[in-house]
């Protein structure tokens, strides 16, 4: 994998052959990676790829089946308390207390995170302010929009001032405005030195936030690296995608063609031949664009359903 230079800061999270099975199913299958301080790493993968399971291994919510894992140089499960005191988690599923108001939810969590009542009050006010939730402090859970609930989950994960923030699909189901706001907040945290692990199905999110992405499929990390480098390494520069073609046109040798269902993909490092092809296609559903992370993702995880 990545050969870190010897002078680099020690890795915050190290996994070697890390494996977790549920019965016959291998949810995380012998993965290797290092996460360095202040890195933001995005885990991409189809449903069931093992992203959540991997995150849960890191914050000691389940035992590993095999392999090695260390977090802050400590051993998960055995040293759960010392590790998790330095971690904040935003869960995939909402698990806020629905009976409580926004501020109360944060308060009860702050106390069992180890803040005293006074520190908790100050910190909650700061976090609500930072995430633009102050007007909703007294609102009950039901009065919060999806975007507010997510921001509240992020506020909660930050209560203990974590060094490592784990976000499991932080913006799934949110509108673009909320997503962009959340991304801005996360980038700000990163600038302040926080290390961030996130799982997502949104390629744009991964690309906007991550220094590196790891694409997972059926428990394995199938490819990893900086998003732009992955695109450069594994794909041509341009893609022409079209759908609704009765029959794919014959193409010149410098264009690579793929067909999946009713869709055709033409790849080339030069824009001009694709542009020429584009103009001849007898379909309104065609788009010429740069290759992106989604193309890499589909290349490595396939275009079929994974269920």
């Amino acid at each position: 994998m990545h050969n870190a230079p010897v002078y680099a800061a020690p890795a915050l999270v190290v996994a070697r052959g890390l494996t977790r099975k549920f019965g016959d199913l291998t949810a995380v299958d012998a993965v290797d990676f290092d996460i360095r301080p202040n890195e933001c790493v995005g885990f991409l993968g189809p449903n069931g790829a093992g992203k959540t399971t991997l995150m849960r291994l890191i914050y000691s919510a389940i035992h590993k089946t095999a392999g090695e894992l260390s977090v802050f140089g400590l051993t998960p499960m055995q040293q759960r308390k010392r590790i998790n005191a330095r971690i904040g988690v935003v869960f995939q599923e909402n698990n806020l207390d629905e009976e409580l108001s926004a501020a109360e939810s944060l308060e009860v969590h702050a106390l069992y995170c180890g803040l005293d009542h006074r520190t908790a009050r100050g910190r909650i006010a700061e976090l609500l302010d930072w995430l633009a939730l102050t007007p909703k402090a007294r609102s009950s859970f039901r009065e919060l929009s999806g975007g507010m609930v997510r921001r509240l989950m992020i506020a909660r994960a930050l209560l203990n001032s974590p060094e490592l923030l784990i976000l499991d699909e932080p913006t799934t189901g949110l509108d673009p405005q909320v997503r962009h706001t959340i991304w801005a907040s996360l980038r700000e945290l990163k600038r302040q030195g926080m290390t961030i692990l996130l799982t997502t199905h949104y390629m744009e999110e991964a690309q906007q936030l991550s220094d590196r992405v790891m694409i997972m499929d059926r428990g394995r990390i199938v490819v990893s690296g900086p998003p732009n480098q992955l695109i450069e390494q594994h794909l041509e520069r341009y893609v022409l995608q079209a759908s609704g073609l009765a029959e794919a046109p014959a193409v010149a040798g410098d264009i690579r063609h793929e067909r999946a269902g009713d869709a055709d993909y033409f790849y080339s490092n030069a824009e001009q031949p694709l542009q020429a092809l584009y103009e001849t296609l007898p379909t309104p559903y065609a788009l010429l664009r740069h290759a992106n992370l989604e193309d890499v993702f589909l290349k490595f995880t396939g275009r079929g359903l994974h269920e």
């Binding site: 998790n84 005191a85 904040g88 009976e99 803040l115 976090l127 001032s161 700000e188």
Partner: protein, 274 residues
């Protein structure tokens, strides 16, 4: 909506001194349950207070008319029933809290999923839970004591210790509740335990009539049933009489408590870490 806040993120990432010790962790978990419970206090607490009230009136006044005026076990019948009921109400409070309450937190509210993201040890999560159930038991035992007092039971000064007996009883049965919950897949499964285990305990542990003195076998069984020990302790308070037997019951209570506590934590640890 925007993050145009007056505050920059630097303040948010400054290191904090966290209290991760056992006592604060238990307090934190307990506090969470208390806050959520208080939010829904009226809806939650009315039936557990009213039910013993109706029961006491029906039994102590209704059935009590047919009981010899000397009462049972050296206690007037109203005091006899009151002493049993402070304990049985603590039992119900404790066991139901960690059956239905814990199940809802585990499966629907995902409370433990959220706690798993923090430094809390699994044991701290569930001992905090048991302490909450026990606190509720202490409160309900006290409420029942006061209500039955108004309705003619005659407690002694020793009855100031009733909250303590309520606490211990609820803790013990909350352990039992956790064990049951650790096996339960669907919330409906609880009715089997509620009707099959908890209700018979209530009827056959000497809550409102003496079990012992009928057959030797029954005597042994009744001593070993976990509700008997706290009821005997409560009666000792109501009689202000303490004997070697009182000490034995205290021992039985603690023995049950320790064994069930250990087993409950093992079971719940296995249940949440998966």
């Amino acid at each position: 909506m925007s993050t145009n806040s007056s505050l920059d993120a630097a303040a948010l990432v400054r290191p904090l001194r966290l209290r991760t010790n056992l006592l604060w962790s238990l307090y934190g978990v307990w506090y969470r349950h208390v806050r959520v419970y208080c939010k829904t206090l009226l809806a939650n607490a009315t039936p557990p207070v009213l039910e013993p009230l109706f029961f006491f009136v029906a039994i102590a006044y209704g059935l009590g008319g047919f009981v010899p005026t000397s009462g049972f076990d050296g206690l007037p019948y109203r005091s006899y029933v009151a002493a049993g009921m402070v304990v049985s109400s603590a039992m119900f409070t404790g066991v139901f809290e960690t059956m239905y309450g814990t199940f809802v937190r585990l499966v629907y509210q995902k409370t433990y999923a959220a706690m798993l993201g923090t430094h809390l040890r699994i044991h701290e999560m569930f001992v905090g839970e048991l302490l909450f159930a026990a606190s509720k038991g202490a409160v309900f035992a006290t409420v029942v004591l006061l209500v039955t007092m108004l309705l003619g039971a005659q407690p002694t000064a020793w009855c100031v210790l009733v909250p303590l007996v309520g606490f211990a009883t609820a803790y013990l049965f909350a352990c039992l509740g956790l064990i049951i919950t650790s096996y339960v897949k669907m919330i409906n499964n609880f009715s089997f335990f509620a009707t099959g285990v908890i209700t018979p305990l209530f009827y056959f542990s000497g809550t409102f009539f003496p079990i012992r003195g009928r057959s030797a076998l029954l005597d042994v069984i009744s001593v070993l049933v976990p509700l008997t020990a706290p009821i005997e302790l409560s009666r000792a308070l109501f009689k202000a009489q303490f004997t070697w037997e009182t000490l034995m019951h205290l021992g039985i209570l603690f023995a049950y408590g320790i064994v069930l506590h250990i087993f409950a934590l093992r079971r719940m640890t296995a249940r949440v870490l998966r």
